[in-house]
Structure formats: C-alpha cells, structure tokens
Symmetry: C2
Subunit: 553 residues, 2 copies
C-alpha cells in the first residue's frame, strides 16, 4: 500500500475524542469537519510547566534519496505514547504549491502519518488561504493609497511589500502591475512570493496573542517615502483590518496520527526561504497539553534548527530539552557520492564519505549545548553493516544513534528511539545561542556561515550593502537574521554535498521583516517563489465520481 | 444597535440543532466551527418533490439609498417558518473584496440577518479561497506548460484564462507576467479578475455533481493555439487536479438566520459581472429539505433574475413558483430625482417619477409568465401616503404590493408578505424563457437588451465582432449569454436612472466560458475586477485584544 492508501484505509478517531483525551472541553475547540479542530487561544498556557519536555527533530541535508524527518517525528510521538507518556506532536501545515508541483503531500509516511492526510494537504482549515488573502488585501490597500491622495508620500519605486499566493508560479516572480491608464493604477514593478515565504506567515507563526499579532502586523515595513523614510502598516492605518483577516488563522489546529497521537499542525513557513518552524502558539499549546512535545524544524540543522534556536526560541520563552537528528543510510551514501539508482546496494565506502554531513549537523547542535540523539530512519535496503557503521562513528563522539523503523511499523518501530530521547531529556542543557541579537548584522551572518554552514565567510552584493546601510540607519540591526539558502548543501551551491568547507556565501539581498522581527538574507540563487517542474504532480492526480482521490502523494 | 451589534448579541443555535431540525443525521454534514456546516452531496435530491415551492427574490435597480433585498429575503424565510411552513433560504456567500472595500458585509440587516455574520463575511468555510487557489493553480500550470515543451502549441498571446483573487485590486487588472529572463517564464500580457467573476465560480455554482464539476472544468477554454484551435483544460490534462481542489467547496454550507431558519449559503458570483445566483446544489439542497425555499438573484431583475431564469433554471431543472420584487420608497424617490440627503422627506412627485423603474422590473417578470409580488422594504422615514402610492400603482396592474418590516421586526414584520407569497405560489405559472438558447448570439443579446433592459438594440465593438466569429466557428453559439452590465441602470450607463428607453448597449467583448456554459458579454465600462474607494472600509475596522471586531459593517 502507498501512503495515500494507508491513509484512506485508516480508522480515525473523531477529533472530539482526540480532544477529550487531551483533557479539553467542547468549548475549548471548534470542529472543522469530523477530524480537524481549531483550539481556542485560552487553552494555551503562556508558560507550560518546565517538567513538560520539548523535543526538537531536525535532520541532515535533504537529498533525492529521502530522509523522512516527518515520518520519524510522527513515529517518535506514537512511540512515546506507547510508553505511556502523554505526548503531543507540533508540526507545520503543508503548502499546496509543492503538493501540486514537485513534492507531493507532506504529512509523514507509511505507518507514521498525520491524518486526515488529504485534507491536511488540501486547504486544511484555511490558514494559508487566510494569509494569502490578508497579504493581498494589504497589497491592494497600498496600491490604492498611492493611487489616491498618498499623503505620506510612499514612493511607488520603493514598495517592498510583495503579493503572495500558495501556488508555485515562476511567472509571478517579476511582474508589472497597474497598466492600462489612469483608472487602472500606477504602473510599477512588483512580484509574488509563495505564501509560505511571506512575512505574514512568519508573523502568524511568531505571534503570541491577538494583540501581539496586531502589533507585529502594524510594524511591518511596506516601503519607503520619496524622502527615504520607512512606512509601516500602522502608519497607513491598515493593521486592524489585516489582523481581523488573520484572527481565526491564529488558532492552532488539532489533528491526529494514525495511532491517534494528538498532532497540532499550524503555520507553514518553508525553512529554506523562511524561518521554517511551526507557530509559537502551536508549540505552546502542545507544551501545555502534553508531558512531551515533539516538534520539527524544516530541512537540515543549518536551516530550520538554526532558525528554531536563534529566532523562535526567544519568542517561545524556552529551549528544547532534547534534539534528534534524522539521517538515512541512503542519503548519507548519496552525500558520499553513490548514484541515485544504486542506493539499494551496500556501499560502506560511500557511507563513510557521506558521514561528515551527519557529523557536522551533530556538531551544529552541540554548539548550542546539546548532545543530540541520531535517528537512523530505516529503509528496507539498509544492510546491518551500514547501520553499524553509522552507530560506531556516532559512538566515537559519544552520540547515541538509534535505528527507527517508523515507516514500516509506526510507533512500535520507534520505541528504541523514544527511550533514547527520554534519557536525553534528563540531561541538563546549558543553552548557548549561536549569536547575540545585538551583534551587527554582518557579524551575525558571518557567525552562521562560519559556525553552522562551515564556510569561510560572507560576500555582500552591492545591493545588499546598500540595504544593510538602510537597516542600520533605521535602527533594525539588532534583529536576528533569517538566511534563505538552498537546503541541499551547507553552502549556497546545491551541488556541494557532504560537508564542504572554505566556501563563501553570497548575500544577494537583505530584506527587513520588522513585523516578523528578523532580517531576511537571500543567498545564492534561492527564490522566494518556486516554479513547477516539467511534469507537475497535478497531471498525475485523479478523482472519481464519488470524490475519491488518487495520485495525491 | 447596528447590524454587527445585533449579530454579536444574537443567541445562535448549534448548527447540529439546525441540521437536526431539518431531519439531517450527524453523518449528513460536517461542522465548521459550532455554527457552520457543510452538507454532504448525498443528502441532495436530484429532483425534489414538485409540491416543495421555490420562491425567487429580486429587486429594483440598486441605489445609494439601499434596497435591502437580502433583508427582506431573510425576513420572508423567517415569516414562513413563523407560519408553520418548513422553510429554507438559499443565498450566495459574500466576497471579501467588497467587505474590505465599499460595501461592507452582506448578510441581511437589522433583525433579518444570517449568522454567524462575521464568519460568513470573513473566509466562511473557505469556498472562495478554494476557487482562488484552483484558479491560480490552473494559471500556473498553463504558464508552466508554455515554458516547458508546449506540445499543443498554445499561443502566449492568446491565453484567455485569467488569474483571480478575492480582493478589490485595480492594479491587477492589466499586468505583464513572466519578466526577468528565461528561468522566470515567458513575458506576456495577463490580468486578474475578482474570484466572484471567475469562470470557476460559475462552474462551481452550476455543477450538479463531482462528475459534472470535472466535466465542466475540463471543458473550460484557456486559450488558442498559434493555429487558432481552442485549447481546453482537459486537452492539457489538468481537469482532475483542479477538480480535486474544489471537491470540498462543492458542498453547500449550512448556517442560520437570527430566528434559526436554516440558511444554505453557497457560491458567490456577482450579478453585474457574473451570473449572480447561488449554486444549483444549494438550491437543490434547500428544495430537498424544505417545503418552501426562498432564494435570491443579485441586483435588479435585469441582472440576477434574468440570469437565474435564462441560465440557472435549465440546469436546476425547475422554475420558481413565485417571484418577489423588492423596492423601497427611498430608492424609488432617488430614481425619480430626489437628492440623497433629502430622502427622509416625503416627496410623492419624485416617487411617482421613480415608479417606472419598479414597473419595468415587474413587467420583466411578467414576460416569463409570473405575476410577481412587490415587497416594499420599510424604512422609518416612509410616510403612509408614499407607501399607499406604491400599492395603488401596483394594484392598477393587478400586482400585490406588501409592506415588509423585516429590518426592524424580522419575520414578525414580514408575515403579510409571507401570506401574499404563499398565495402566489398557488397560481399556475406558464413559464416562458426570454430566448431560445439556439438563437444566434447576437439575437440573444438583442432580446435581453430590448425586452428586459428596454433599450433599442446592441452595438458590437470590432473586438466583439471578431470574438463572435470565433465563437460561431467553434460551435459555441448555442450557449446562453451572461451580460456584464452596471447594476445602477437598465442601460449600460450608470447615470441613467428610472426606466430609460431608446438607448443602445455597447458590447465591448464576448468571452466564451465553455465550462460554465455561457458566453459573457462585457458592456459599457464594466470591470471584472473592482477597485477600492478613496476610504476603504478596511481603515475603519477595529479588533481588540480578545478578538472582538468593530466596524466590519
């Protein structure tokens, strides 16, 4: 059976039962269909008891071989519950752009999935659509402001607020709007980002309340006046309307795994072009309701986990109690040079060559003060010798590596990992952030590139240098940095696998996201709007007369 | 109290209770929050018993004075229930573009509202967002197809599929996409319509099942090849994926009025730039579940009702049993020349001068075979003499005119109208469509303009003439016409109030909407993407720390 078939055959509990098991009353949530709910914000404690444990799951760099971080995370949650520990998982909601494009659905796999898989991947409870509509309402209000009296003197050439859409559409990256004469607006260069990379997505994911949401929305800088003064959403008087459009989307969503572990699924920023973590409120909700919270950060430790620990953690008000790094034999061999078609053949040499990728991800977590647990996500082709090699190399640096059979066996296949993680949460952590937010922007970028990516330093484009001056002049230099970089390599070149060193990272643009509270650095040739592949996933989908869907995953 | 305050203070029934009162089982619907639900398609009978009565509510031309068609419709539904008749109302869902722009929320008013008003006006159950995302996914797939191998030979200069968004954004009417070089697509002229005017909205509103939805989506013409051959969504292989994105949106939504009358709210095409009727499935659901169904068609009888009777009725498989035309003293006086600031003063002369507007709307319904009931939606400033004048002029042509006090008193204020409507449904109707679908396109346009608008004929632009030839050549001439025209006048000039005659209507463009199954005719200077006013409604909205909203209506 493929993932969708397993999902379609699963017996879900009514979401009311999942909620009741968490100790929630019917007034604590609102149903969205039989198997989804939105949690009311008043069930979320601002500070959950510290004995409630937070486990962060990250991974090595993704490869076409597949890593299965979500699968392991779901399996881990299920396994902890099998051990009698009240566990909640907290993850991001998938963007539909990739579902229709290259990636297919994102909700774990095999017997470690979140449910209802189809709905989670298609519209879900509408959060991303609410963000899209709020984003574009703001864009329309801005263009209308310029078209009308424009009292503030917003410069049409300096509007940095982009439109957003949850579609992979390269044709919308660079457009000209407002053509057709006076009644059709003012012609200007514009563009769309995918909603997962939008500032409002980050704002939603970092907001801690309706008030905080409104303040963050108000702080967003949309552009500059002809006098070079920054103009915020609050300056224009649009903060309340935009917040109103997001007030339901701010509530975390409740779903379940195949094994009925509660899954809080909320916020969907990509980790390569955004901060890559589910919402602060989702994590807080899980921490309030569960003794153990298993959460994820997107892609490798260089992207999602770095942003989790340097951007999300200060807002969340606490740090993880343990960290899991997911790896696979296949992906490490691919990093070590084995060809994609040959990954089912044992190749200890390629595996050994690929290990430095894992080791750097481990080291990355160590520099924050963690001794991570390595989860080897098992594929059927893995040989015992290959699995042992990973375990031994990890053991040499006192890191526990555990085989997780989450795809084939769900929680029952992930019990060893669960035990290792529970042990790890007992170790004291002396958390050390990677950088001080008060360091200069360039120094923060330099720190991430040298300490986490393993590079030698950064190069700023002429445009980035101009933008950096403006950021400093406006007093925004004390914000953390959110680096947009390819997920496939520690460097900004997707071809450099393994653990490259000595490279420089080119920063193309520095974009102030004052509502989110960070400065985005675009590196290499990363796009904030993906394109569709030659054969989009959409063309292989099928729906029958009863509405049954095939080919979604 | 204003409408929003009345709505916020209302005691709603749980939607489970509203559904149970309709005889629905818990498996017949899915909750979306405590007060909204989506109905499963299998509760909808293809043919409801003919003894179940269908009542269509239309109105005179809208004016800035306000007509309150939705208010009267809701009051009528409540009144019929007060009379012990099992009644369901079936209406459209509001677009958020106007909510943020000029119009404010749309869900009735005073004590005749549908609930939960705020949610219905903001995102609701996500149907319009699903349409937006399906629409733009299709656009991205088309541009990607051209960017890739383009085997069919789609001509980038002849793509008629536009993007869509549920925002009033004039800057998106005319744009250039695909700028920035090879990897960013093929530069071409493009544009956005508001989602309420999109072909997918019409497709959703006219589809009778998942299969029919897929077939309609497949039939949509997205453009032409360099050889001038039309290219459909099915030709490109995208019909299934787009249908998958719409499968939940196809299910009608259940809500309630303040008096707990079930309200099926589904589909939101504007009547000036689209076909202006709620979905066929919503109307069928109401007809299945209620002994009386009260439904609406947008704006005046020249727009929504004409399209209801000539486009929707053949798909619905039945015609209304009675028709109500809503008028107000104020709006008729405005039509008769009284100034906006003076409408609270009695002015029988202006009222007499404005009456021809009402009389033509009555005559419009008579030519389909109906003797409509006139509902005079009462405002506090109306004088007895003014109300009597309307009644008398109607009585002279044997039309019953009844005062409806729906805003101030809800169903209790609308009982007389309910009684008149029940009487009207007892009269046999010999339904006569305005035109034969097999008439030539030009003749169908001519018929609507001369028989319904009261004009002397049509003028086709050079572009419309070219498009007409193409429509005929491709065998689409037997489709009905969906005329996009200003709602403020019978003519295509919004300044011509009352009952103008002798005017010609200029058809600017003829656009084939083969999935919807009609030919759109754009007249005058009507836009399929509205703009925002100088002071958008958005700037007067407020949200407090608990999420309570003010200024939405």
């Amino acid at each position: 059976m493929n993932d969708l078939e397993i999902a379609q055959k699963a017996m879900m509990w009514p979401i009311t039962k999942v909620a009741a098991n968490l100790g929630l009353n019917p007034d604590d949530f609102e149903q969205y269909g039989k198997y989804k709910a939105k949690l009311n914000l008043d069930v979320i404690a601002d500070k959950a008891p510290t004995k409630h444990k937070l486990i962060l799951v990250t991974s090595i760099n993704p490869t076409p071989a597949g890593e299965g971080k979500s699968t392991v995370m779901v399996g881990l949650g299920d396994a902890l519950n099998l051990r009698g520990l009240k566990t909640v998982i907290a993850i991001r909601e998938p963007s539909m752009g990739p579902v229709m494009g290259m990636k297919g659905g994102a909700a774990g796999g095999g017997y470690s999935q979140v449910m209802p898989m189809e709905e989670i991947n298609l519209h879900f409870t509408g959060d991303i659509h609410a963000l899209t509509s709020a984003n574009n309402t703001l864009a329309a209000l801005i263009d209308n402001y310029i078209q009308r009296d424009n009292q503030i003197g917003l410069d049409p050439r300096q509007i940095i607020w982009k439109r957003a859409i949850d579609v992979n559409d390269r044709s919308l990256r660079n457009i000209i709007t407002g053509l057709g004469g006076r009644i059709n607006g003012i012609p200007r260069e514009a563009g769309f980002d995918i909603t997962a990379a939008s500032e409002l997505m980050a704002v939603l994911c970092l907001a801690t309340s309706i008030s905080d949401l409104k303040q963050r929305v108000g702080r967003i800088i949309v552009g500059y006046t002809t006098e070079q003064e920054p103009v915020s959403v609050a300056d224009l008087g649009f903060a309340d309307a935009i917040t109103i459009l997001l007030k339901e989307a701010l509530k975390p969503n409740l779903a379940q795994t195949l094994a009925h572990t509660p899954a809080i699924i909320h916020g969907g920023p990509f980790a390569n072009i955004a901060h890559g973590c589910n919402s602060v409120l989702a994590t807080k909700a899980a921490l309030t309701l569960g003794d153990y919270t298993v959460t994820e950060a997107g892609f490798g430790s260089d992207l999602g986990a770095e942003k989790f620990l340097d951007i999300k953690t200060p807002v969340l008000g606490r740090t993880p109690d343990a960290i899991v790094v997911v790896a696979t034999v296949r992906a490490l061999k691919y990093n070590g040079g084995q060809k994609l078609g040959e990954l089912t053949n044992e190749d200890l040499e390629a595996l050994r060559k690929g290990m430095p990728n894992l080791l750097r991800h481990i080291a990355n977590m160590q520099q924050y003060g963690y001794q991570p647990v390595v989860a080897i996500n098992r594929f059927t082709s893995d040989t015992q010798a290959e699995l042992e090699l990973i375990k031994q190399e990890c053991a040499q640096i006192n890191v526990t590596a555990v085989v997780a059979n989450s795809w084939a066996k769900g929680g029952a296949g992930t019990l060893d990992l669960a035990d290792a993680v529970v042990s790890a949460t007992a170790n004291p952590v002396s958390f050390q952030p990677l950088y001080d937010h008060n360091d200069p922007i360039e120094s923060k970028l330099q720190t991430v590139v040298t300490k986490t990516y393993g590079g030698s330093g950064i190069v700023l484009s002429a445009q980035a240098k101009r933008q950096l001056r403006r950021i400093s002049d406006n007093g925004w230099a004390n914000l953390p940095v959110c680096i947009a970089k390819t997920q496939y390599s520690f460097s900004d070149d997707p071809q450099q696998l393994g653990a490259p060193a000595g490279f420089e990272v080119t920063v193309r643009e520095l974009i102030p996201k004052i509502g989110a509270g960070f400065i985005v650095a675009l590196t290499g040739s990363i796009y904030t709007m993906p394109g569709l592949p030659a054969t989009p996933a959409a063309v292989n989908m099928h729906i029958d007369a009863e509405g049954k869907v095939e080919g979604l995953f």
